[in-house]
Symmetry: C4
Subunit: 333 residues, 4 copies
């Protein structure tokens, strides 16, 4: 049995096409082929894709119980007015400021929108799309969905899809769960409802494809260490550290991108990165990026479509964690 | 239906006058008018208002149970002597040191005073006013008020108002709740008791007006990311990070202030920022600000009055979160 | 009623002699007198006293349940071997390394010793004294004492006193409670047992005197923000931040020391600051201090004796928090 | 009784050979001898040993309940798909990237492997060994073992040993418990199963020997402050701080290594340090080290064997914490 077949049997499911780089060198025949030039991993000769998520959550939070502002939880039965105003910053200052910054540097991002947030401020959803960004779905409300029944989860997803379509006229192709946690049914339901990718896998720095019900479905990689919610929204916030991490992450991936398909993943939240000092941090990073050639600010939808169009260099992964876990019932994964 | 009307219907209640900046450009007719010169957003041609809150809480804490010093809570029934001495630093070292620093740089601040703190150290409250700062109210004690009945909350507010009047001879115009959390009655009660603004909204970088009972009431914006309690009083304190954030926040708002009304919001606590090393951080920031023209160190009372006097450029917002939430009973908002 | 009498009535008990600096300027007659020259606040013309606490806790921790190493608590009934080895670092590497560093820079410190730690490693306690440092008491074990009965607390204090006397031949004059929390009886008990100062008050940057049972007792100020346990032992440790804070704290106090009695307070723990990289941070700070004149590395015992010998410039404070709290029974304070 | 005998009686068990450095100078005769040249503490004239632990945990985590990614725990009964993908990063990106970096700088490390992780990705375990690193054991699964019965713990250890042998053909010599916590039986069981060292003691910066059942067993020192899981995986992550700590730790130990046996201990986790920006931090550190002579990147197995071969300069320690604690039953320690 060769290495490829050996690896295919592993329970966490890295398939042949997902062989790590070191294995390529040690194996004479793998399916993961790369074309002759480094430029060919992405369209138009781009060297590195930068994928920015712009979370539109303001107004999607629960009227009481959302975290991030006040250490002590509020008692049940009272609306958390201060926290609601904190989220509201995303609409009044945060998103407008970030949209202006993105325009200045030619950044196109993917905006994950909470359904209730869109319903409350459809004009802002429309403006995001008017600026050239991709609308994608981030749940009906800013709350867990993994514990819903399969039917309830289907309605949860359908609801946010409809909110986005109604406000922007665009059908979302991508999906992001609250705090990244989906159920064992999530991917099948997304496929059933016309989505082509999800955003809740942190295992790689490049997209991969799964076969679901006989059809390909794209997993867009995600990161938490490049997510502002991990930098600013917990004790120990440090803009300087975040700025250096952004640059270091870029440098390393830009270097690696000469020989592999690489993408850099960043996530900004409306109420978090939209503050004045934080926009300053982001602008310094965007200026730094602008000194480099071959950058493609890509929406996740564009990347997913490109991944589907280039199956020869996109890993094909079989995942069956849930089935083996004994923790959940049927799954279509 | 035009964008303005569309937005007015949103449940989080951004009214016509609260349209974000990007919308102004896209809409031909909005009420939010700005005069010809950038200087006119604030009195006397000032470009940027800097509003500093100076929290006077020493002596207002509970005899046992206040946090911020020792990780493990004290058992019930014992006075927390160490923590009380920690708060006491505000009276003996913290506020005196900050007051001297503010004098040196011509800073006028708004001091939110806890009633019990004022009762315990009225001379210090008087000294704060003698130095030219605005006394404002920060609750009867350093404790939650959102869960009080409407009548009890009225007495809570009246009590701190009387403490301040007795000690300083000045009637407070502004109010700040413990950890920012008020009830659905708070604003109406403040209006009833003669206050003209509250300080517990984090949704903007400029003041706005609400109509309460047919009369205008001002919301002064607040920030937590520029609040020392979010930097020093939790794990991960970093003076250098705080200093850079202060400068970045200033730079961005100063830039934006050329075309919009902008104010910078900072909050210092007596026992937190009053320490020697932290005063050093603040002084470096004040020196940095002093290199710029057009700075107005304004009390929140001055800003609130100016907001009321310039309704043409002050957003008028209708908020009805509580009514819709189903979480609370009647509200006069 | 003049300001002095007014202030004396406040419940947190700042007495006439504890009037903050700003009040001196505003009042014609206060007892807090300073002599003509700034040099006279400390012996031998020193300008600034630097008081370093060196915590000797290794071996004093409970066999199971001590925190600081592993996030999840251990189940009851199992010894926490890893955590015990973590504390043990203080004996084998931490204290030896710090003692060598202090010798190199002529630093004399006060070592607060846990009784059980001394019993387990008496030779190390002796070595600390041989190097010229002051032995002081830090409880019988590394555990709470505030909830003990008065008699049990007396034995608790007597026990650590005896451990130190037995190991070093020196009678300790000062006392520091576990995590700073004493009971309403602690100070009286300390006085009864021959101690002249305690270390658990965070309200000032200078010592003060109380009259207990008709005799003076000294309070040495303490800080948590200059304590390594607040920097390194919780998430968000940052040596660079700690280093800058040390320098900033020094600069500000050195400046203020020209006109007031000022002392800088630092606390190092055996197992925390004793690590190689952290000793490097401390050495950079000590080098920085060495560039200044008028520094007195004083033990707390020396400072307490000097405070008692200079009542004209040492604040006299009346504290009665506990009596008023209704939380505790009789108190001799 | 001389100092040496006095110290031997202490309950935390520092034996004669473990006398701290300061005691050597004060005592005329101790067993801890060092040869004439500083170079002789390590083989081939090396001055400082650098021991890097490379944690291979991806796939060894529980299907639900592993921490480090999402603040709120998942409800029981659901697989945590997002967290599983987070761990999976170690296989697909983290370890491959770190292995390439280590090759570039000639680093040989010790990889502590979770049994289940090896079973799921045996090819990667094999690749780690092929690159010249030492495979060592890190438990059957990524979970506590201290509360197992002695027989169950024996099987736990035997299981991971077999997984490693099966995948790599190498018998592991070293062992590391989940979050460092072993039972009172762990060391005896390791010895019984052929291991020669364990990795869960934080009390020193050099190895030491215990006599277990009449045979020597090596304790390799460990650190948490040089462990990436303490820097990045909790709030307040700071790459710059981590980088500076690495350099400071190196500088201090390199200096001390002129006269004592010293080793620097670092620990990297697959899913944590394997991210692009973090590899950048490590590379800057490795570049810094490369400017110095006398560095030995040693596996822990090599160090343990050298410690056993040089009993004249390796401390011999008697530990009996557990027996005295009254918390556990029989122990063979």
């Amino acid at each position: 049995m060769d290495r490829r077949n050996f690896l295919m049997k592993t329970s966490l499911g890295a398939s042949a096409l997902a062989l790590p780089g070191w294995l390529d060198a040690a194996t004479e025949a793998v399916e993961q082929k790369t074309s002759g030039s480094a430029k060919s991993f992405w369209p138009n000769g781009a060297r590195l894709a930068i994928s920015i998520a712009l979370q539109f959550e303001a107004g999607g939070q629960p009227i009481s119980g959302a975290g991030g502002l006040i250490p002590e939880p509020i008692k049940k039965g009272y609306p958390d007015l201060a926290t609601n105003s904190y989220f509201d910053y995303g609409v009044h200052e945060g998103l407008p400021r970030l949209l202006d910054l993105f325009d200045k540097y030619g950044v196109k991002a993917t905006s994950f929108m909470v359904g209730k947030a869109v319903d409350n401020n459809p004009e802002l959803a429309r403006e995001i799309v008017r600026r050239g960004h991709e609308p994608a779905a981030h749940g009906k409300e800013w709350a867990w969905q993994y514990q819903l029944s399969k039917d309830d989860e289907r309605e949860w997803i359908r609801s946010v899809k409809q909110s986005i379509e109604k406000a922007t006229g665009v059908t979302p192709l991508g999906y992001d769960c609250y705090w990244m946690r989906g159920s064992v049914h999530t991917l099948s339901l997304l496929q059933e409802l016309g989505f082509i990718y999800h955003n809740n896998d942190l295992s790689r720095d490049e997209p991969y494809i799964q076969q679901l019900n006989g059809k390909p479905f794209v997993t867009m990689p995600y990161t938490i260490h490049m997510n502002d919610i991990g930098s600013y929204d917990f004790p120990g916030f440090s803009p300087a550290d975040y700025e250096q991490q952004l640059k270091d992450e870029f440098d390393q991936l830009y270097e690696e991108a000469a020989t592999r398909r690489r993408m850099m993943l960043i996530s900004f939240h409306d109420r978090i990165s939209g503050h004045a000092s934080r926009v300053r941090v982001i602008e310094r990073f965007l200026k730094y990026v602008a000194q480099h050639d071959g950058i493609w600010y890509a929406t996740k939808g564009e990347i997913a479509k490109h991944a589907l169009a280039t199956p020869d260099i996109t890993p094909l992964v079989k995942r069956d964690v849930a089935e083996k876990s004994g923790l959940a019932g049927n799954t279509n994964l």
